[in-house]
């Protein structure tokens, strides 16, 4: 009884117990892997039993998509170089290079009242606490617990999560708080006369030091200036597929290996 009180206090106030948690998480990982097995097996079967025509069609589609993306990438590279050159001229210290790693979500349910997911990469893959996680569309969450083979990600929609953002159009800064609902973020302390409109894109501002600046987060869905109150009610819809994503990207913001995806580690599809 006393021991659990002490543990709870320690866990809430500090990081001393992260290693205990990591060890226990590793011991319990087989259970989670077992639960995940039917899901990975069905997707594996689905891939292997897909008909030839379907595969050819998918291949063609991916090929054309690849072509389009590569075209865009060329433009991006030249833009990035130009950006770097201009920044150098301005003596700005902002870095551009980022290393990424693909992680797969493990199909297990955690506490239904917090928005957390388990991913299949851990400290053996150099994942660290507080690391930003993205999906293909936008910011997904951040790593809160790391075990050797897996780690827990807190989604940006969790009630306890707050994310410093910026309106892409004019640079207006705000804090996007989770609401516990995967389709809503709330922007706090926006003055009623602030220049923010429905449809505005919100990007990370990089001010919290956790997320790299410039990643898309959400789109403003509702602005309700209430003249009787000092702040407007602003609700945004996250761009990332918080409840549908199956693969996510782990990002190392301050890595000199500019822009190169990490080498595949075998179990990434």
């Amino acid at each position: 009884m006393v021991l659990s009180m002490v543990m709870m206090t320690l866990d809430h106030r500090s990081n001393y117990l992260e290693q205990v948690r990591a060890a226990l998480a590793t011991v319990l990982y087989p259970v989670q892997a077992l639960v995940h097995l039917p899901f990975s097996a069905s997707s594996w079967l689905g891939e292997n039993l897909a008909s030839r025509e379907a595969l050819i069609a998918e291949n063609t589609r991916l090929r054309s998509q690849n072509l389009v993306l590569r075209g865009q990438l060329q433009k991006l590279i030249s833009l990035e170089l130009e950006n770097m050159r201009l920044r150098k001229l301005l003596d700005s210290s902002q870095r551009v290079g980022e290393r990424v790693l693909i992680a797969e979500l493990v199909a297990v349910d955690l506490d239904p009242f917090t928005r957390q997911v388990l991913i299949n990469k851990g400290s053996l893959h150099e994942v660290h606490q507080g690391q930003p996680v993205l999906d293909a569309e936008g910011v997904f969450g951040q790593v809160i617990h790391v075990a050797p083979l897996n780690s827990t990600v807190l989604l940006i929609s969790d009630l306890s999560h707050a994310l410093p953002v910026q309106v892409a159009r004019n640079g207006l800064r705000a804090i996007a708080e989770g609401t516990g609902d995967d389709t809503r973020l709330q922007l706090r302390h926006i003055p009623i006369n602030a220049d923010i409109r429905e449809g505005d894109l919100l990007i990370t501002s990089g001010l919290g030091g956790v997320f790299p600046p410039g990643y898309p987060v959400a789109e403003v869905a509702l602005v309700q200036p209430d003249n009787t109150q000092a702040y407007a009610t602003v609700v945004a819809t996250p761009l990332a597929h918080l409840n549908r994503a199956r693969e996510v990207l782990l990002v190392w913001p301050d890595d000199p290996q500019a822009g190169l995806p990490a080498p595949p580690t075998g179990d990434t599809p």
């Binding site: 866990d11 948690r21 297990v108 349910d109 955690l110 809160i144 827990t152």
Partner: protein, 162 residues
């Protein structure tokens, strides 16, 4: 009773593993708040059937495992399950002679007690939960209790766990 030697520790351990798996099995979004407290139910059964073997200490360890699996505060479920196991052992003599539906009612109250503890701790650290759905697991736990009880009783007899 030929001997009082403890037997079948592996079976008890395995039943807890199954409970952990059930507790993390993905469910559709609407069903998630209604998931019964499988680990608590398993713990309750063994506390009632073999209070000399499965006790507060086992409850504490099971709770710690749940904390890690669910990503909740470390020690939160451990405390709640330890108290839950204690309560089960206190009433295990009555529970054994109750008919199944009456056992279900008792389990309902016990699981509410356990959830209340978790709820309080959540409140203390500032993770308040917005909905009444939080209490749904105690109801579903009471509903599945008869099946859990019969399954585990058959398992216990089949493998002569004592």
């Amino acid at each position: 009773m030929k001997s009082n030697e403890p037997r079948g520790g592996k079976i008890i351990f395995f039943s807890f593993l199954v409970a952990f798996a059930l507790a993390t099995l993905p469910l559709p979004e609407w069903a998630r708040p209604f998931r019964p407290e499988w680990v608590a139910l398993t713990l309750a059964y063994w506390c009632i059937a073999l209070p000399s073997r499965v006790n507060v200490g086992i409850g504490w360890m099971a709770g710690l495992a749940v904390d890690v699996l669910e990503g909740s505060l470390l020690g939160q479920h451990a405390l709640a399950y330890a108290v839950f196991a204690y309560a089960c052992i206190r009433v295990h003599r009555q529970l054994r002679v109750y008919p199944l539906w009456q056992q279900s009612l008792s389990v309902f109250v016990l699981v509410i007690l356990e959830q209340m503890l978790v709820f309080w701790i959540n409140g203390v650290v500032g993770r308040t939960l917005p909905t009444l759905l939080y209490w749904a697991p105690s109801l579903t736990s009471a509903l599945v209790w008869p099946w859990v009880f019969m399954t585990l009783r058959d398992v216990r007899r089949r493998f002569a766990v004592s």
